[in-house]
Symmetry: C2
Subunit: 415 residues, 2 copies
């Protein structure tokens, strides 16, 4: 596909120049991009209205319509996000390690941009701006490929920020949107190894699975969160109650919300009725294992499939376990390796849980809802990696970089 | 394929236990594995003879026969390699970073094993032992898939080290060889995302390309080295001569050997005849661009294809360039992003070269032959990554790890 090839080539050329820009130039570009979003608010809203009309015509759900909707407040937040990225330290050029060899060679391991980052994402148009900002700051060219439902919004947003960025000194081609939204164009993008250094899918499970299956470009898998909270025999049950309520209800539609509650059999009889009442008050439906349903007869029956589910909704699977080992086994078997918590007062149980649970983020006595680049103090976030290669957990600027070995010599040869 | 599934499952179970072993246990296992190699020398040599007979029958080239051959010295080297890995520091458990959040949560980013590492490799049976040793030390289970030509050697080597490792406390399934060597089994392995956390191909370009194209398991691309040396206008030509000879001739069949020489036009007339004479004395054939051939009429004609070639042989492509920019442009266009060197006395040229050349290892005034885990002081090496994701350049124990966030709280919930 000729146009994708062109986009790729342009991005690759831009990347070589972008990697050499100083933080000063990049930060000015980010500020200009933020300014431009605000000054072009009307054009952006007009394009967004076109998408919304299309969406309503095609019967899009209210939740999706809400995700797609821009308004002055949301545009202001996008601009603010760019300014916050400008305020973060530049990851490029950081000397990660360095040493001198016995033969006098001096080795430095230096942080460099990845090169060209591809992002394939679904409805929310703010991803266009957030991802572009993080890529610019980390010295990467970005190729954005959003969904058809947001194509008008994405097109105007990209035009606005790309033009502002270029006028502030970014090389042409630093920020590009793929104007095609058919499946074939996505597939082409996934095979552009020659031009893309990494591809990051952001969206639902189906999108992520497709990219993982079909991409020959290296992928960072993000997002699916089947998160667990395990209430240990020794737990402070008041604390457990607060953590469970927060992890399930504070924002149920996101990846770090809890989907399954595991309760030690020794406290199930005391804890489950309390937590069930509190959750039901908040509209949560419970799906329990047989032992749970002995204690909570009103709970629905959980099937094997429920242990794998990321509900993203006010539904909670509940299982009574015989102890720590069974809880850890359950999480490692059914979980998506995102975020898990134990509530306990037992030193050994806490240490064993964090050691043996094979997930990106493991908590003792806290809500899984903290798994987030901003909450962790890393600054803005490009996604949460649930794979082990390259990056794991919340990804920010450093995770958009690679390293390079630079070796300073004075004529050394190998004997 | 049932047997691969079984191997994968066993490896995954082993990995969870392996990750929790102390360095003491892992080091003892490595020592026992080394001992066992030495005490089982005769069995290993007998199996190797079967492979060698097969190889000779099927008309294998002398170079490949040499790579396949084991003898007491080589077995001793494998054992020694395991002991050196035992002596390296344990990467697992290293706290890479840690901080306290304003809400009191304490975050630690801790190094953990990747889990299950798959290695697909060609003739040399020493890879079986080297890879297994590095994986054990970094707490990973390993699934080895060697070539049919070395199957008997690999089988005995794996039996010997796996048994010795297990008797010293490694969980069963830590070290496994895929007994199948047909293409379909390799393809199956490449799609075992459920069990493998990473797949590392070690071998020729064809093997690496196949794995990159077909694997849904995350891949670390290794090895192809189309390396360059650029002799700048300001170079110390005596130094340049030594570096060029070393980079081309010291061991031409390996990935960090030079394949293309770029010479600044201002010194071409003086330098090329000198370097040509020295290289020809060492049996090197030159393939030059038109300007090179004006100066060296005996050089063969280089085609466009030559600039892309990794000869791994006593052949050198030579190009006269107008200056630094053209040299950098040539390397970024035709190179494989492995190792490149500039020979110069010019501060600006040196800095610009290391900044703009987009390769894993960039040298000033030294031979590219130093790109190697051992030479860099990293200890043994599992391969040299030429991709930007996860690891770049020589990979050792740390590159076989991931990280995990551990968050210690006292009841914190998100507001």
């Amino acid at each position: 596909m000729h146009i994708l090839e062109e986009i790729g080539k342009k991005a690759k050329d831009a990347a070589l120049k972008l990697g050499a820009l100083t933080a000063g130039v990049k930060n000015r570009a980010l500020e200009e991009m933020a300014e431009a979003l605000l000054s072009r608010e009307e054009d952006i809203l007009a394009a967004n209205r076109m998408d919304l009309e299309e969406g309503e015509k095609s019967g899009m759900s209210p939740a999706l319509i809400d995700r797609l909707t821009l308004n002055p407040k949301r545009i202001g937040e996008m601009a603010q996000g760019l300014r916050e990225v400008a305020a973060l330290p530049d990851p490029v050029g950081e000397v990660v390690a360095g040493w001198r060899l016995p033969n006098g060679l001096e080795i430095q391991k230096v942080r460099v941009p990845l090169g060209v980052v591809g992002i394939i994402y679904e409805a929310r148009p703010n991803v266009t701006v957030d991802a572009a900002g993080l890529c610019v700051k980390s010295g990467n060219a970005v190729v954005l490929r959003g969904s058809s439902s947001a194509i008008n919004s994405n097109r105007v947003l990209t035009e606005v920020i790309a033009a502002a960025g270029e006028s502030a000194g970014l090389p042409a081609g630093s920020i590009q949107l793929v104007p095609l939204t058919d499946r074939e164009s996505a597939r082409q993008l996934m095979r552009m190894r020659e031009y893309l250094d990494v591809l990051i899918p952001r969206g639902g499970e189906g999108l992520i699975r497709t990219v993982v299956e079909e991409s020959t470009v290296p992928v960072i898998e993000t997002g699916v969160g089947n998160c667990h909270t395990y209430v240990d025999a020794s737990a402070d049950l008041d604390m457990a109650l607060e953590i469970v309520i927060n992890a399930k209800c504070q924002r149920p539609g996101v990846c770090n919300a809890m989907e399954t509650l595991l309760v030690h059999e020794a406290v199930a009889l005391e804890f489950l009725p309390r937590v069930a009442e509190a959750l039901r008050e908040r509209g949560v439906t419970l799906r329990g294992c047989p032992r749970t349903r002995e204690i909570l007869p009103d709970a629905e029956e959980a099937t094997e499939d429920d242990w794998y589910r990321e509900y993203l909704d006010l539904i909670l699977a509940v299982r009574v376990v015989s102890g720590l080992e069974e809880a850890i086994g359950h999480i490692n078997r059914y979980g998506s390796k995102h975020s898990e918590a134990i509530v306990t007062r037992d030193y050994q149980a806490a240490r064993r849980f964090v050691g043996m649970v094979d997930s990106a983020d493991v908590y003792v006595n806290a809500s899984t809802r903290f798994t987030d680049g901003g909450q962790f103090g890393l600054g803005a976030e490009i996604g949460i990696s649930t794979q082990k290669l390259h990056a794991r957990g919340p990804m920010s600027l450093r995770e958009l970089t690679s390293t390079k070995f630079i070796i300073w010599g004075e004529g050394q040869v190998r004997s």
